[in-house]
């Protein structure tokens, strides 16, 4: 286990300086929309919160943390907070493979396509799409989180945004539950799959759905994801820990203790592999972590796009 203080102060410093927990400049992270001609205006704003885009960088940084956890080198992490955020961020971006970055972007393209096919009137504004600050909240840096959330909520409000589509559970929870509580600014927030209205296809397929904690338990919307799959003719196998009683994938511990994260991940992967069907995730953190376990897993949007 790393010293939590070293990790938190490094992340908090990065968010403060660059609005990103990894210090990577946004133009290097958020590129998925560039070859699409998405409208800027619409009834809803598509807000990715950059979480899918961060997954290749999370994977890369976790590889290094895994290597040094429990060694003398781990103590050097206390100096990370003194490294200028952009410097470490650009370094991390350079070390991360282009293939993985492209894959992460493809998921967002799939989601945009599903929304278009469902005839949802949405726009995308890269200038408004920012990290929600959720990691600061989870880590206990309340002051840092509230400052970041206020800045972002104000920015969205000033742009006249009222309705927001989110793509991951952590950003959805931050915008739906935490922003009204800590910034006093509320938006009508919907996860993308809640808005899908696609032609039902008979897929004759069975999958196992891994509900992320924040969709299954905190926001209690996993029945909606199940309904989307059922409408496609895809049956979902029942496992013991699902819906509001879903099990954690271990992802939240990966920066503080990769070994603990792996331990939790292995347990969850075993539960999900039990029915012997392909696994579907709908959170970038869960997806990345389950992939790491070697599970046969893909994102919900990837599966759906293949069948429209």
């Amino acid at each position: 286990m790393f010293n939590p203080r070293d990790i938190i102060e490094a992340l908090a410093g990065n968010v403060k300086q660059t609005k990103s927990p990894f210090g990577i400049p946004k133009f290097m992270v958020n590129k998925w929309f560039k070859d699409l001609s998405l409208p800027k205006e619409g009834e809803y704003l598509l807000f990715t919160g950059l979480m899918y885009q961060f997954t290749p960088f999370i994977e890369k940084s976790t590889q290094y943390l895994e290597k040094y956890e429990g060694t003398k080198m781990a103590t050097l992490l206390k100096y990370a907070r003194y490294v200028p955020a952009y410097l470490s961020g650009i370094g991390l971006a350079m070390m991360t493979s282009g293939k993985e970055k492209k894959e992460a972007g493809q998921t967002l393209k799939n989601i945009a396509l599903l929304l278009q096919k469902s005839k949802i009137n949405f726009g995308y504004r890269p200038d408004l799409d920012n990290y929600s600050g959720i990691l600061l909240y989870d880590m206990g840096d309340q002051k840092g989180f509230v400052a970041h959330a206020k800045m972002l909520a104000q920015k969205l409000q000033n742009a006249g945004i009222k309705k927001i589509i989110t793509v991951d559970p952590h950003t959805a929870y931050a915008l739906k539950e935490l922003f009204p509580k800590y910034t006093g600014i509320s938006f009508d927030v919907k996860p993308y799959f809640e808005l899908l209205d696609l032609e039902p296809k008979d897929c004759d397929l069975q999958v196992t759905l891994h509900d992320p904690c924040f969709f299954g338990r905190y926001l209690q919307v996993s029945d909606i994801a199940r309904k989307v799959l059922t409408n496609f003719g895809i049956s979902v196998s029942n496992i013991r820990n699902q819906g509001e009683f879903t099990s954690c994938c271990g992802g939240p511990a990966e920066s503080i203790s990769p070994s603990l994260s792996n331990e939790i991940m292995e347990k969850r992967a075993k539960e999900l592999e039990e029915p012997g069907k392909p696994i579907i995730a709908y959170c970038p953190i869960c997806l990345g972590n389950l992939k790491k376990s070697g599970a046969d897993v893909e994102d919900l949007s990837t599966l759906l796009v293949r069948h429209i």
Partner: protein, 99 residues
């Protein structure tokens, strides 16, 4: 010997909702927590109840093993919200580092 801070629960009100004293230590949270071998988060909540402020600061690293998965809060029979209590303790410790 550990010292006891009688006002600890009061001090924590700044960091989270005051729910720790609702807990009757049934252990459901520790049983359902993915960190099965640590009697977590029950032990931390007990420390609050008895005012063991220093014990929490000494063992503060443990708080960040919490995955914030919410299973403890979802199953707590007293609605004491153990997940939020742990989050409140993290905030308390971070504030202590920075003070």
């Amino acid at each position: 010997m550990s010292s006891i801070s009688l006002d600890f629960a009061e001090e924590l009100k700044e960091y989270s909702e005051d729910k720790a004293l609702e807990c009757f230590n049934c252990g459901t949270c520790a049983a359902i927590c993915p960190l099965v071998h640590d009697n977590f988060p029950r032990r931390m909540i007990r420390y609050i109840q008895v005012g063991a402020r220093e014990k929490i600061l000494e063992n503060s690293d443990e708080l960040w093993r919490c995955l914030h998965c919410g299973l403890c809060t979802h199953t707590c029979p007293r609605e004491a919200d153990p997940g939020e209590i742990i989050l409140g303790l993290k905030r308390f410790v971070v504030a202590n580092w920075r003070s």
